[in-house]
């Protein structure tokens, strides 16, 4: 993929917009090829292959903003699209905080060091991809005779490029790849219920992908381990989060450390910068420069150079993620955290979110619990960012005398996020990546577990 042509296209749309009367504008364009294949019981169940493209234009005219998108790249259609977008901005009212970044903040470095593109993905044939999915599912089915059904294994690969050009002279673009493999299998429980589990691996670089067989075996073991799952009594106990669930908690916390939530007054972290909210074991960073990771980016959705931001440092809340708009709204500099969708205005978002690992072996974290819950699944959307009230469905294992005693399902865990962060009393050595988030095992000293 030659990225020059996409930047050229975006540049010409910026020119059209300037000629149509836009004071300021920026254009994001992307183009990618995607292919996915699903194998079930060893047969190809479905495949998809396609090339996709889209373009988004933001116009800022005297502080009045419009944001439009199209998938029609025909030149005449693009000129009409631009004229409409410029006219549309007049509907908005002037906002002194709207505007492109200060050009001094524009990224100048190259994307190569971030290793976002792996040309080896392009050489994977359809047959290669089918073989990987088959190997994954077969390993899951072979792991245990109690695995009786499968939802199949899917392999998805994408290769594409993104370009961002604005009217203040920024023009950047880079190619990227991604590949993921996921499998879900199930076992029949004695009460007639099915116990299912999935596992996945998702990377930009092919060599980092877990072996397909390992993904399959993990999924199978997780399903088997849930056989005989039951509810538990309602009580307050220590709760241990396996790394994948700790990563989910980290995402929830980061959503509250967002400049958009700050200026809308919709986060419990408002007015709490510099305060010790979490336990000293809790350090959370946003790191866009991790080589080869899903969230890595050389510039943000406004062309600003990206940088590492500490959200929580040893429990102290250090600050929010900002783009230009939310920064100006709250008298803060942008942290280079703008994320830009084709159809939407820039908004602050995390890049790679990392919960710093601790010094405790994960088995020791469990061993330190007499009665408690080990969480491997969270369900539902029960979190209120404004109040920090947290309440989600959960499943996993009951811990008794320091060991996983039996599987648990259909329970709920709840608490206030600020109190939960303060009650983190162990972090594991087992830092694990899940896409753009990495976390170790975490233990919270006490939460409400609701059951019978």
């Amino acid at each position: 993929l030659a990225s020059g042509s996409l930047i050229d296209l975006a540049s010409s749309v910026v020119d059209y917009a300037r000629k149509a009367g836009a004071d300021q504008c920026d254009v994001i364009a992307h183009r990618y090829d995607e292919s996915s294949v699903t194998v079930r019981f060893g047969e190809v169940e479905k495949f998809l292959e396609a090339g996709s493209r889209a373009l988004g234009l933001r116009v800022i005219n005297g502080g009045r903003t419009s944001v439009c998108s199209t998938t029609d790249f025909n030149d005449a259609a693009l000129r009409q699209f631009v004229a409409d977008a410029v006219a549309l901005a007049a509907i908005s009212e002037p906002d002194e905080c709207a505007g492109l970044p200060d050009p001094a903040l524009f990224a100048t470095g190259r994307a190569d060091a971030l290793q976002l593109y792996d040309e080896r993905l392009q050489s994977l044939t359809f047959e290669d991809r089918v073989a990987m999915a088959k190997a994954c599912e077969a390993a899951a089915l072979a792991e245990d005779r109690r695995i009786t059904n499968t939802d199949g294994a899917s392999l998805t690969a994408r290769a594409g490029e993104v370009a961002l050009v604005n009217s203040l002279g920024f023009a950047g673009g880079y190619p990227s790849t991604s590949i993921s493999l996921v499998v879900e299998v199930m076992a029949d429980d004695e009460d007639g219920k099915k116990r299912n589990a999935h596992w996945f691996t998702s990377e930009r670089l092919l060599h980092r992908l877990l072996p397909p067989e390992e993904v399959g075996r993990i999924a199978a073991r997780r399903a088997i381990a849930q056989l005989g799952a039951r509810k538990v009594e309602t009580r307050r106990v220590p709760v241990v989060f396996e790394p994948m669930m700790a990563a989910s908690l980290a995402g929830t916390v980061a959503g509250c450390a967002n400049g958009g939530a700050l200026y809308r007054g919709a986060t419990f972290l408002a007015d709490r910068r510099g305060l010790a909210i979490g336990s000293s074991l809790f350090t959370l960073t946003d790191d866009p420069a991790q080589p080869g990771r899903a969230g890595s980016r050389p510039f943000d959705g406004e062309g600003v150079a990206t940088r590492r931001t500490v959200l929580f440092g040893e429990g102290v809340f250090e600050g929010f993620l900002f783009d230009c708009y939310t920064g100006r709204r709250t008298a803060n500099p942008t942290t280079g955290s703008a994320s830009r969708g084709i159809e939407s205005l820039p908004t602050p978002s995390t890049s790679n979110l990392v919960v710093q690992p601790g010094e405790t072996d994960p088995t020791a974290i469990v061993a330190g619990v007499r009665d408690g819950l080990y969480v491997t699944t969270l369900m539902g959307f029960g979190f209120n960012p404004a109040t920090s009230d947290f309440s989600r469905g959960a499943a996993g294992f009951w811990i008794r005398d320091g060991e996983l005693a039996y599987p648990v399902t259909e329970v709920n865990i709840s608490g206030r996020m600020d109190a939960m962060l303060a009650a983190i009393d162990a972090t594991g050595t087992d830092l694990t990546w899940f896409g753009s988030t990495a976390a170790p095992t975490l233990r919270i000293a006490e939460m409400t577990v609701s059951g019978t």
Partner: protein, 481 residues
């Protein structure tokens, strides 16, 4: 009122020269390697949005998405390709790619594409919001803002948005059927922050449907804004929710989301065909209390989940899923219908031309019973009363589900007393539906706000329900004992 197929043919024919001869030719390419069945799905979607913050319009937006999805079916297997370009050469390439699910040597397959009309009409794009001057829509947001601020002095922030979409689809199948639809959809959303003595509470509500300006005659923006403000202020005084197993009364309307999660997804035929649903192989068996009758009805006038045809070109209809507690049928797409040897149910849907078809819900409803809603509440000694919700999730395989309640109260000695916050309901679909002990006479359809996600694809749906008593369900609060 012109026929939707005629309108769709005019749009794609006029702008892109897509006519029955082009469709026949593409389908012929799609089947050239021995596929059993092929379909072309043309889509043109245009939406307008206006967002409101700080008592002014923050931004206006417009998106245009178009393309074609081409599917070829061989047995139960699917080859799929799509193209954003509607140039003949690009579409031909996509048809050729999808054809490769077949493995035979290339040979031409003649197809006779024949446009068909749509007889029943449940909505129309006449008077669509997209045709209105933007100032009319801005005025609605302004009215919502004023009403929310006037509701209570603690209301310190109001965000709002209005979206209107017009989606034109044209389905052309290798059995010759060509059918189209024009689907309008609007949604207004209001978010209110109540700030009192440093305590922040946010509430959000939205509504709409497949209609135009007339929606705001039924639900004036002031009404939605006041309702949102009321919920935010109410949370200021809400108590900690109890934790543990309790009787739960679900109010009429929005509670249908429980039905959607607890049972709707498990009745989608793809899961049942593969034996991965907890309802697999249970047709004709009791799966709920005899008081429970559940239908999925894509034909409700102007409802968010309604469709004239599904995205495979089959006519939408009313499907009885559970009748007096007995499982009667599943929601089918074509592949599953053929597997089960039944007719189509009009339930094949997809988010866009880029996506696979799956069996999906439209408007999922529990029919009214005979109990007076007041008597239902009076029958509960200690429990909770749930009115509005912000979403849920289900594990299809074992039926476990969760959903979050945004407005709930304690019931003490048969009376609704204090508001409670941070309430989650956890249950198992079949267990909970077997525990339905009273069903109210007060059936209501929820306002059009729900979006259903499955396998990464979102489609608009409707839900509806009468007041219902569930004898025991796990309430995930924070207060133990």
């Amino acid at each position: 009122m012109t026929d939707p197929t005629t309108e769709a043919l005019a749009l794609f024919g006029g702008a892109y020269n897509i006519d029955p001869a082009v469709m026949s030719s593409l389908l012929s390419t799609a089947l050239s390697r021995g596929g059993d069945f092929a379909e072309l799905f043309f889509e043109h979607r245009k939406n307008n949005s206006i967002s409101w913050e700080d008592q002014r319009v923050k931004a206006a937006g417009r998106n245009i998405v178009q393309g074609v999805g081409i599917r070829v079916v061989k047995g139960d297997a699917i080859g799929y390709a799509y193209s954003e370009s509607l140039e003949l050469e690009a579409m031909r390439r996509a048809a050729d790619t999808a054809s490769r699910i077949g493995t035979e040597d290339e040979r031409p397959v003649p197809i006779d594409a024949t446009p068909a009309g749509v007889s029943d009409r449940y909505y129309s794009a006449v008077d669509s919001l997209g045709d209105r001057p933007p100032a009319d829509k801005v005025a609605l947001l302004q009215r919502a803002d004023r009403a929310a601020r006037a509701y209570d002095p603690s209301v310190s922030r109001v965000d709002a948005s209005i979206n209107d979409e017009l989606k034109t689809i044209l389905v052309s199948r290798s059995d010759g059927r060509v059918v189209g639809d024009v689907q309008p959809l609007i949604r207004i959303g209001v978010s209110v922050l109540s700030l009192r003595d440093g305590s922040r509470q946010v509430a959000r509500l939205s509504g709409g449907g497949r209609l135009g300006m007339e929606y705001f005659e039924q639900v004036p923006p002031e009404q939605m804004a006041r309702e949102t403000a009321r919920q935010a202020v109410l949370l200021q005084d809400a108590a900690e929710a109890p934790a543990g197993s309790l009787p739960v009364v679900l109010a009429a309307g929005d509670s249908g989301i429980l039905l959607h999660e607890a049972i709707g997804h498990g009745l989608e035929a793809d899961f049942n065909r593969k034996g991965t649903s907890n309802y697999s192989g249970r047709i004709g068996q009791p799966v709920a209390s005899p008081l429970v009758t559940v239908v999925d009805d894509g034909t409700i006038a102007k409802s968010r989940g309604s469709i004239h045809i599904d995205d495979e070109g089959n006519v939408s209809r009313r499907n009885v899923l559970i009748e007096n507690g007995i499982l009667r049928g599943y929601l089918q797409d074509q592949i599953s219908a053929r597997h089960f040897g039944v007719g189509p149910t009009g339930s094949g849907r997809r988010e866009s031309f880029k996506d696979y078809i799956m069996p999906r819900m439209t408007n999922t409803l529990m029919l009214a019973g005979e109990d007076h809603p007041d008597d239902i509440i009076r029958s509960v000694g200690r429990g909770i009363y749930c009115i509005s919700f912000n979403g849920g999730q289900v594990n299809i395989s074992n039926g476990d589900f969760v959903f979050s309640v945004t407005e709930a109260y304690l019931i003490e000695n048969g009376k609704v007393t204090r508001p409670i916050r941070n309430v989650n309901l956890i249950g198992n679909g079949p267990d909970v539906l077997s525990s339905v002990t009273k069903v109210g006479s007060d059936y209501a359809l929820s306002d059009g706000r729900w979006m259903c996600g499955k396998d990464g694809q979102s489609v608009p749906v409707g839900v509806g329900m009468p007041t219902v008593l569930i004898s025991a369900m796990t309430v995930g609060g924070t207060k133990v004992g």
